[in-house]
Symmetry: C2
Subunit: 201 residues, 2 copies
């Protein structure tokens, strides 16, 4: 029975081990650089070094391809942040670790999460609910981190989260590799919030 199990696993590995991952990367790259609608299946296929029709062996449609890119992007960043939060520390240190991980994956972690930031499945897409649920659960991590923060009275943690995540998520539009590192940017952004900027004239 070990033979059967091993053979089955080998078959599965072979099936998923082929060029499906390569194809997903090509799709993420094309979706990121051209946008979902402008990136044609022919572009993606050429990027992955295969024929357009061959894509449909791995994915049933272009829309599902985008959903798969989203799921991979969300999976990566969720894992990176979760791993960064394994280290113990105070509330501010934990938030900083999460922001550093978030920005690092976004800006230097390949095309998947940037593609997630750029393109969203259409409102009518049946796979949209899945990816929005993943996004909501991910952002809940930051909501919890902010809840754990000892903030002055009256600070709206909801809007604070929107500001912090918005500032970070927008960065993929202006970031160019080689200048400031994502970790440094994250720490600077957090510093702007932690320290008082108004010197009181």
């Amino acid at each position: 029975m070990a033979d059967v199990a091993q053979a089955a696993r080998k078959r599965v590995v072979r099936r998923q081990g082929n060029r499906r991952a390569l194809l997903l990367e090509a799709a993420a790259r094309q979706f990121l650089h051209q946008g979902y609608a402008a990136a044609s299946m022919r572009d993606i296929a050429a990027d992955a070094g295969m024929q357009p029709g061959s894509i449909y062996y791995h994915f049933p449609s272009k829309a599902e391809l985008l959903v798969a890119v989203h799921e991979e992007g969300m999976r990566r960043i969720t894992e990176a942040v979760a791993q960064a939060l394994e280290k113990p520390g105070g509330p501010w240190a934990r938030l900083e670790a999460a922001c550093v991980a978030h920005l690092t994956v976004l800006l230097e972690g390949g095309d998947f999460f940037q593609a997630v930031m750029r393109e969203m499945p259409a409102k009518s897409d049946p796979g949209r609910r899945r990816v929005t649920r993943m996004r909501d659960r991910y952002e809940e991590i930051f909501a919890d981190l902010l809840d754990a923060l000892p903030l002055p009275r009256g600070v709206d943690r909801h809007d604070l989260r929107l500001m912090l995540l918005g500032a970070m998520n927008w960065s993929y539009r202006w970031y160019r590799p080689g200048a400031e590192s994502p970790a440094k940017i994250a720490r600077k952004f957090l510093g702007f919030l932690r320290n008082r900027l108004d010197t009181g004239t």
Copy 2:
């Protein structure tokens, strides 16, 4: 009966010039809600109540239509911020006025500037240089406002501008009318920066 109404409107519009402005609004709306590539000339024409071929009387191509939407969006927000800065005030008050105007136009000022935030002309587009120059000049306003701020030593005003504008520009993704007003959001965001959040536990 639709013919009669359409004919009447045509006569009225005719007296005001033509339907170019209406067409531009339809283009901004479609570009915003569907994205540039997914919005077809037929969609835009139908939204404006005309035939697809008629667009080409006003604009030479779809790409130029996007450029025109960008220019109108940038014109509107630049004017709104300039007008907000006419009132005298201290550095922080002036920055707050600019942020309030920026967020108000972005979130409640129609589809033009949101379309600008969502879609950019392609890198090969000859009109792209024009719109990027308009964007650069606009963001310079905020750079000047930050330069005028009496900030603590060592604060990176460049990254501070990227954080502030990024947080605001991202807001069109989560903002829904009826809740907090854009002005209130802008003031809260600025408050997070001005006041110290770290209570120093």
